[in-house]
Amino acid sequence: MAAAAESDNGSEVGPTGDSGAFASPVKARERAPESEAGASAATASESSETRVDDGNIQEAESSLREGLSLNYEEARALLGRLEYQRGNVEAALRVFDGIDLQAAIQRFQPSLSEKPSSKRNNKLRSDSSNSGSQHAASLVLEAIYLKAMSLQKLGKAIEAAQQCKSVLDAVESIFQRGIPDVMVEQKLQETVSKSVELLPELWKQAGAYQEALASYRRALLSQWNLDDECCTRIQKRFSVFLLYGGVEASPPSLASQTEGSFVPKNNLEEAILLLMILLKKWYLGKTHWDPSVMEHLTFALSLCGQTSVLAKHFEEVLPGIYPRTERWYSLALCYSAASDDEAALNLLKKSLNKNESPNDINALLLAAKICSSDYYLASEGVEYAKRAIGDDELLDGHLRSVGLHLLGSCLANESKIASSDHQRSLLQAEALKSLGEAFSLDRHNPDLIFDMGVEYAEQRNMQAALKCAKQFIDTTGGSVSKGWRLLSLVLSAQQRYSEAEVVTDAALEETTKWEQGPLLRIRAKLKAAQSLPMEAVEAYRALLALVQAQRKAYGSLKNGTEERDNKVSEFEVWQGLANLYASLSYCRDAEICLQKAKALKTYSATTLHAEGDMHGVREQTQHALAAYLNALSTEVDHVPSKVSIGALLSKQGPKYLPVARSFLSDALRLEPTNRMAWFYLGQVHKHDGRLAEAADCFQAASMLEESDPVESLRPL
């Protein structure tokens, strides 16, 4: 009878006689690598050669039962395992189908779940009857587990999951108080662990995500006596499932949480918790390093902007995992994202040291980027950017364009603090050249177009600036507020005020109320520039109403943060109104506004300067001078005060002309496009009899007059 079963088992075994079939496990193991994939196992089992029909199973089974005094389930379990091991998944399945798990559990239950009265009474466990029934239980449970595996390989995930779940249910009903640590047969424990690990994956494959979620939690929260590696794998997969699964899940039940413990309230929190636990486990040496854990955590924490927390985890990673320059770069990204540019730059400097990775493109670009936001780091940024684009391997157009863009920005910044006119004009030319090259590589990058526009405008090439501003609005669909402002200011510089107003109005249409501040300010200044004082006052009033409403809505007065948030401060509004009234010689109104401004910000160069203007209007020269000097003592480089002092002194007779000249030259060093400074410098030259120089200055002033925007282009 048995011989029939064997020969039917396939030609691979061949006609080698009676023992052939059972000798084949060796062969089967040799074959195992090929048949690892479920698909190949399935095709193997579909072939007629490996077919086992029910008749044969029964024969084989009965012979086993007779010979080994096994019961029905055990015999089937053994046979099925053999088939599975050979890759005959379908055959295995047919064998396993006959096992009645419920009946088997009933039999195991009394002997195994009998709890010893005393915990010390462990000897009972080693009773032969007990270990015998454990062995039997182990066989049957393994069979069900293998059945689940077989079903999975045949693509029947739901049935597989149901089978796998029944293994766990059975184990839970046998061991009602969880699996004891040491008393379980190794094979049984292995089956339990494998099933615990398998179940959520099967539910996932079946698309039953709620069940998957529940079975992950069941795996991690019940006592299965899993080893560290197995538990780690489950935690890892669960965290991934929580992080990316897109399953709406209720958090783990409160019943299982103790007081004072951290209770995750959604998927993301639970995922982050698990990932942090995994890192700690690794840190404590309980599990091997898995790079994916850190990547998942990086993704999760970057999404919610917690890169400073992420930085701590990068710092905790033991040496030898990441090359140190890579770790420094990652840390620099974390700090930079957390607005700690100084820390980021320090790390990048370490990394870019000639003994480390001086040509690391990513580090160079990030360093250049950080430097581009600070005038005093501009020349350093230029170096980094030049090194980045100098790299021959950097043929990638994307990164090359990024490098050139950063180079241009840093050069433009450097030109602002250049010590000579000559150097300044060199840097400015170089800046535009770099930006232009970057643009030729990437014509659709709005940030690049914007920076080019600002640079052209600052160099008073308003025609080119206008083109860039329009192009920026085209590529962003008008969705970025600073683009509208640039366009409006460039038009104002061209003295196309009514067009500038149209742009401002269009921008207001596209902007929500809370963000209209800077646009309303431009509008007020445009009105003032067109000598429409009443409309300008009206515009300022609207701006004031907005600013005050914002203050009410957000509570506190946070001076200083407005600039960053692109909000207008109330101080600025009063100051602007004061300037407007002063220009109309409405001294009392101007003074009232100045008082309001002073109440908001006591020591402000702008306010002190405006006070000086008021005194000037009343021809109180000494008071005016004192106010301007006070302004300079609060802000050493306050250009308007320097210009005003120069202007005032130029009218005080020949004795004061050299001093006036020095103040005005100083102002022009800081702000070469200051029209008034050129004008008064011309006056000084004229009074001194240097007519040719005077003429040059007046010409410069008149040229600039035609290209002065109503407010500064930086910061936009």
Binding site: E197, S261, F262, V402
Partner: protein, 339 residues
Amino acid sequence: TTMSSAAQAIQSPKAAVDSLAAILGRALPESLAAAGDPAAALLHDDGVARAVTGRLRGAGSGAGQDALCGWLYGTFQSGLPALQLAVLRFVPTLAGVYMSRAVSRKPLAGFEAVLLTLYAHAVAQRGSGEAETVTLPNMAKPSVYHEAIKPAAAAPAAKTGKADDPDVAELSPALEPHGSIRATRRGRIVGAVLELYHAKIGLMPLSSKMDFCEFCVAWTGKHRSDDKARIASAESGEEKWRRVPMPWELFQPALRIVGHCLLGPTNSDQLRTQAARASQCLYLRAMETMDARAVLACRSLVRLSQMVEEPIPEPSFAGVEANMAELETMRANILSGKK
């Protein structure tokens, strides 16, 4: 007013199907009319998806009088969760086409009406002024999954008083109500709609996610020329989807969706491939401005896309060998006994 009349008409899945049939006519598969569960068919039927997305992508779609937009609007307004899912299914195409065309400042009142109603739903769901936050775990406290881990010796001194303050991170800022789409709020509104989509993404069919990845690639403007050819040939309309501005409020939800497509449970290699491409493009886009936060998140996705998932352990037959030998002997005995 067109929109509200459509809203009144749709009160049941059957009505939604009838109304869609009136708009799309023969483009719809015939099976739809007879579907036992019309809402599920609207969500899952590939033929329906092709007909609707084809029309959404078509020239001139999304205008104020676009009947299909009216249908999406009305169907979502029905308030029936199953029908709302069927509308969300089209968010990738809706948002994709809308964002691309909005850059060109075309009138898209139809698309905007649908997006605004989805946005209003998100606002109502969240509560006005409520940000979506994440509380980071404090490892010094125990949780269901771990025992308290004592911080390193030096740490407590440095952080006295701060230890009990949990780190609360903002995942999504508060949503202000909007009655129209102003250009400067476009990214936020569409971003919030993508968040709404992401919240239901586990229920979305594969083709919907594929659509999103495709548009995401186009949005970044970072696909190479060979990709462009693919994208162009993939659609009959030949419309070139423009690069769009991607402020963080749009970039972040897009990244979360791509993360799901790449690493969420799926059996589709095609989706994973497409999502890997999208994350590569997002990475390049992030590098363009060197936005550190975006670079970190995208870099991780790209790296994860290149890692091989650990397979589920196979059953081990180690130790079985002994059993086998035993079994074999016994079996031999049986056989010899019989003979």
